[in-house]
């Protein structure tokens, strides 16, 4: 954004707040199997830091300075990770998305199920985070090109 919302107080609050949101999002992602949470929430909380950085610091923000083309590609990679879990079960000899047949070494089928759920939630996390950055970049970039911000 060419006209960021920033200020002295907001900059300090941003630096204090963002590490906690990142840690909390990883917590939500990993414990999403056994408690409320999951991939969608973890992705949105993970994107909060970057969205806040672009809102507050504008174009000076070097936190995660990723271009729109790359966010599109990485969102597709997140979707691909999800379907890769399905293809791995096919290669292991089972049906599509039947996590008991993942080709990894495990003592019990429940460990394979936990591994498969963690894998697909990682894919959902990446896709949701990059999609939110996409939409925000589209809105901001259009209006910056527009000349309407004066």
């Amino acid at each position: 954004m060419k006209e960021p919302f920033g200020g002295y107080l907001l900059n300090i609050a941003f630096r204090l707040l963002v590490p906690f949101t990142v840690v909390y999002s990883v917590y939500v992602l990993i414990l999403g199997e056994s408690s409320p949470g999951g991939g969608f929430q973890a992705g949105v909380v993970l994107s909060f830091g970057i969205v806040l950085g672009r809102l507050i610091m504008g174009e000076d923000c070097k936190l995660f300075n990723i271009k729109t083309k790359n966010t599109l590609v990485i969102a597709g990679v997140g979707t691909f990770i999800y379907s890769l879990a399905g293809w791995l079960t096919l290669f292991g000899g089972g049906k599509f998305l039947d996590y008991s047949f993942l080709p990894f070494a495990a003592e019990h089928a429940n460990e394979l199920h936990a591994l498969g759920i963690l894998m697909i939630e990682t894919g959902v996390t990446i896709c949701v985070m990059m999609t939110i950055l996409n939409i925000m970049d589209a809105v901001v970039k259009r209006s910056d090109d527009d000349g309407s911000a004066e």
Binding site: S34, P36, A75, T79, A109, E121, V124
Partner: protein, 102 residues
Amino acid sequence: MMRGFVITVLALLTGLFCSSVTYLPVIGDPYSVPNQHITPVYIAQSELDTGSPNIVTGTLADYRGFDTMWETTVMFLSGLTTTLILTSSTMGRRPEKEDEYE
């Protein structure tokens, strides 16, 4: 005339909705029809089948995994469509400043 017609239709619809609310089951009723079809099976078998103590995650990611995959695809397509529409089209934009002097 038109306003009276609209008010009559809205009143009829409101009456229909308010009368049909009484047929809905009570929230959390274990003996209602949708709670007796497949929910007991999920509650009994979810931890054995999926290994996840959270029934919601077990249903969402394991029983209905194919559904969630296409949800993720729909989300990716929504971001792609927003980027394509908003950044590449010049329709609906304000005119450039050079055009105002022509």
